[in-house]
């Protein structure tokens, strides 16, 4: 059997996967093993699949993904820490024909931005919130987040999260699911295969 050359391999009919056009070629700043890159790609792929690149407005948070607008080829706004749902509320209300999403970490969404999160959901704003929960404050260097697990160590709880003084991890998604105006809530894991990191 003749050996396959690289040109045979990249033939159109052999392609099972390619980078979506909704992603830019900019090099990502994320740490090895971080799930943000995967999650960005998933968001971008969905935007391409739905054919809504020209009418999507994204809102980026304060957190590790603050520079998400460098990686997605769509119009984006950078929010103050926790305020993304308020910003998205306004975008959608003034341009109801656009698709508006926020992309937020757990500190952003469930600590400083809890009010904005709950009230935008309670009003039933026609927006999508992508909540990326890593159980920690990544960007500022690993401090305790509202979602940090009981007993889990972080730089601001070096002896582990003590639920008697710091409370239990906040189940914000379950809280929001109680609100009658919330259309749907799904939960996915962006799994990182650490074996590939060596």
């Amino acid at each position: 059997m003749a050996e396959l050359t690289i040109n045979d391999i990249i033939k159109e009919e052999n392609l099972v996967y390619k980078k979506t056009k909704v992603m830019t070629d900019n090099v990502m700043h994320y740490c090895p093993g971080c799930g943000h890159g995967t999650t960005h790609r998933l968001v971008a792929e969905v935007i391409e699949e739905l054919g809504i690149q020209d009418k999507t407005i994204g809102v980026t948070p304060v957190g590790c993904s603050v520079l998400m607008y460098n990686y997605l080829d769509i119009d984006m706004q950078e929010a103050a820490h926790g305020r993304a749902p308020a910003i998205a509320t306004a975008i959608k209300r003034v341009m109801p024909d656009k698709f508006v999403f926020t992309y937020q970490g757990d500190g952003d969404l469930a600590a400083i931005g809890t009010a904005e999160t709950i009230h935008s959901c309670n009003r039933g704003e026609n927006i999508t919130i992508i909540f990326v929960n890593n159980g920690i404050y990544g960007m500022t260097g690993g401090q305790m987040a509202p979602t940090t697990l009981a007993g889990m160590k972080a730089v601001t709880c070096p002896r582990g999260r003590d639920v008697n003084t710091m409370g239990y991890p906040l189940h914000i998604t379950e809280l929001i699911a109680q609100l009658p105006n919330v259309l749907s809530k799904t939960r996915r894991t962006a799994r990182v295969d650490f074996r590939s990191l060596k």
Partner: protein, 361 residues
């Protein structure tokens, strides 16, 4: 065409003016003495009248960030509050200034600090004119002295905001907000179409179409040298504003020996005090800054060449007086007289203050 006249509260005039201007969105949160703004909007249901969006937010923080979101789409967006609520808006204003977005904000000032009082005050001058939030930025600040000016400054304010891509503040107080006066109402302007918005604001996040690069609205730059460059660009903009946008009224200044410097409600009280003083033969005038940033420093410096002294009248313990001192630069005596905590001085008190000042007390 016959003039349309209405008897309105200052707070109502602001809302009506915004609808007539063709504004796109208002986001607010109740607080005395400005709640009539959002109440009037809700009563008028502008989504029916013009398609304007009005929403009661969960906090002043949310409201100003909603303004950010709408403004970043090229919309004419506004919010209003009173002092404690206005403190909460400082975060959003800093981001709006940093992202160079146009918007209009109204502060109907009440006495502070803290929860203070619900009575009128002018104690937010520093916060309004010197930055307020973090970072090196300025708001354009308009100070209305009548209900008519509350109405008129909405159009002037939005136009300036879009001209310079900078937040504009109408700095009012509990008296101007609450009192009723006759207002001449302008015609209803059409809201811009989406095409017109895109033409006017090519930078806005209106959806990345095939004919352009993506638009990003942010105030972040992690490269220090680039951020410095941006800060310098802002300074240039503020310098242009200082050069071109000063508004000020000089009343009875031509023959004046002494002048009051006062804005808003205090300037109205000074007008009455000037009447009383002139009847007694004192040659007294008034400088009324209409823009507090940019400040009419040159006009005051010019007057310092010939008048004998400046007395600022403020409902504060003395804030604007510092800008008068800077403008006068030691050439003449400058003093402050004010009542605070929600107390409004009487014209007679102001007359006495001026007489004492003239005596050198």
């Amino acid at each position: 065409m016959e003039k349309e006249l209405k008897l309105m509260k200052g707070n109502e005039a602001i809302a009506e003016a915004a609808i007539r201007y063709g504004a796109d969105a208002y986001f607010g949160y109740p607080i005395t003495p400005q709640s009539e703004v959002i109440e009037y909007f809700m009563e008028q249901n502008p989504i029916e009248r013009t398609g304007m969006v009005v929403l009661q937010a969960e906090s002043e923080v949310a409201a100003i960030n909603m303004v950010y979101g709408a403004a970043a789409c090229g919309m004419a967006a506004m919010t209003s509050s009173s002092s404690p609520g206005f403190s909460l808006k400082q975060e959003g204003l800093s981001y709006i200034a940093g992202a160079e977005l146009p918007c209009l904000v109204l502060n109907v000032v009440r006495g502070g600090p803290g929860l203070g009082t619900i009575q009128p005050s002018q104690s937010d001058y520093f916060q309004s004119t010197k930055g307020g939030g973090h970072g090196d930025y300025r708001l354009i600040v308009l100070a209305p002295a009548s209900v008519q000016e509350m109405y008129d400054f909405v159009q002037i304010g939005f136009d300036l905001a879009f001209k310079y891509r900078n937040p504009v503040l109408i700095l009012s107080d509990g008296i101007i907000g609450q009192m009723m006066e006759k207002v001449e109402i302008g015609p209803q302007r059409k809201r811009r179409t989406m095409d017109e918005v895109i033409k006017q604001c090519p930078w806005a996040t209106t959806g990345k179409t095939a004919n352009r690069e993506r638009n990003i609205i942010t105030s972040l730059d992690l490269v220090a040298s680039r951020q410095e460059e941006f800060n310098r660009k802002l300074v240039k903009k503020y310098d242009t504003i200082r050069e071109k946008e000063v508004r000020c009224e000089c009343i009875n200044c031509d023959d004046a020996d002494y002048v009051f410097v006062a804005y808003g409600t205090s300037s109205r009280l000074c007008m009455k005090a000037i009447d009383l003083l002139r009847k007694e033969g004192y040659k007294v005038g008034l400088v009324r800054p209409i823009t507090l940033f940019p400040y009419p420093s040159k006009i005051i410096a010019g007057l310092a060449e010939r008048v004998k002294g400046f007395l600022t009248i403020e409902m504060s313990t003395g804030q604007m007086v510092e800008d008068v001192m800077l403008a006068v630069n030691g050439k003449r005596p400058v003093k402050h007289y004010g009542r605070v905590g929600g107390v409004v001085p009487t014209p007679e008190e102001i007359v006495d203050a001026m007489k004492n000042f003239m005596k050198g007390e």
